[in-house]
Subunit: 211 residues, 2 copies
DNA sequence: AGCGGTTTCAAACACTTGTTTGAAACAGAT
DNA sequence: ATCTGTTTCAAACAAGTGTTTGAAACCGCT
């Protein structure tokens, strides 16, 4: 447990993240992991104690990086002075990510696997983290004075907005691809604008300006 | 290939759908499938030719049922006379489904697995089906006179609206649960309303009624 | 009853899986 | 150089995998 053993131990973890994210827990084999890491097969048991433990470590590490990336976008947006600008920037950035990224990144894929077949402990960790983000979105909505009084309503609204981020960063890349950066930028701004317009409209529940 | 063999053959398919959706392709074992179906292990090879072929059959069948369920909601909404009412009803129903359903259903989980680790042939089938739905949503947007002229913009908008359906029927149930039916109804109507308000607003791109 | 084709079955097959093992190689301190 | 604890390695292990096999059971038919 020294810090000098960051050679093989870290290489195993990196390879594990990649393989687990590509194939899931069951589909991944320790032989492929150690092959990619370029180390002996016994390393995974020696350093981590087994495949399951290695998976948990990979998930933890991937979640951290996922969280950090999210936090970076979030904090960057939150640093703006105007609250509406904060929301617009956050939405636009996350949408843009989905339109331009060529493939789902490892942490998001790992999250996906975990959602589909939850490991008891891990799914709790994930749930907690997701709900923390939802809390932050709720706070932003309160800043904007558009948070509904009703608790479930407010929570669903925050959850829904967060859903946009997840949707555009996971599934959308499979179905749509922007041509160039300018185009992506324009589309992202447009969608973000529609989301925000929906938020602020107070003429609720009635069909507006129909045919 | 008679129609009288619907006994074991169909039982295997049903069990396969369940097990594959719970554990994914790699995680599922033919032994568990045949155990649930209550048939001999050789049946899967005899009737389907192998695990992979059985998986494809399950995926096909699940996609059909998923499509049918979607089409039912869609057609029901589309039968309304007013176009805005069509959209509102569709959005509300799909949101409601996510708020009230206790767990992700088999077809959606299978879809999820396939998205995470696409089988070459299967992912094409899925893509095609999803894109067909997006086409229909585009048509509805044209009916509403809110479809942007730009193609990518229009497509992204349709895709985004469809994303709501998927989002609320797959991930949201993990994070939120409505208390009773009345509550769920109210929340679903609220979110649908916000979505539609965003659509119709023409005061685009500028921050509205800020602090 | 007897026949031909289809379907089921228990047992075995070849193979891959995660894990263990015991020796060899290494690093640092004396 | 020698000893100590740590790390790497090739080889082997037991368990579980999808698949095959050849015989038994079943079916509708004459």
């Amino acid at each position: 447990m020294d810090s000098r053993d960051m050679g093989t131990r870290a290489r195993v973890l990196a390879a594990a993240e990649a393989v687990f994210s590509e194939r899931g827990f069951e589909g991944a084999t320790v032989r492929e992991i150690v092959a990619r890491a370029g180390v002996n097969i016994a390393s995974v048991n020696y350093h981590y104690g087994g495949k399951s433990a290695l998976y948990e470590a990979s998930l933890q590490s991937a979640l951290d990086r996922f969280g950090n990336r999210f936090d970076a976008t979030w904090n960057d947006a939150r640093s703006r002075s105007d609250a509406w600008e904060q929301l617009r920037l956050f939405l636009k950035k996350t949408i843009l990510l989905g339109l331009t990224s060529q493939q789902i990144t490892a942490p998001e894929k790992l999250l996906g696997w975990e959602i589909l077949s939850p490991t008891d402990q891990a799914s709790d960790i994930i749930k907690r983290r997701c709900l923390d983000r939802v809390d932050e979105m709720e706070a932003l909505l309160c800043d904007l004075n558009v948070a509904p009084d009703d608790e479930l309503e407010r929570r669903t609204l925050a959850l829904w907005l967060m859903g946009q981020a997840i949707w555009f960063s996971t599934l959308a890349p499979h179905l749509i691809q922007a041509g160039d950066m300018d185009e992506a930028n324009r589309v992202a701004e447009n969608i973000a604008g529609k989301l925000m317009n929906g938020l602020v409209s107070t003429i609720d529940e009635k069909q507006p300006a129909s045919i």
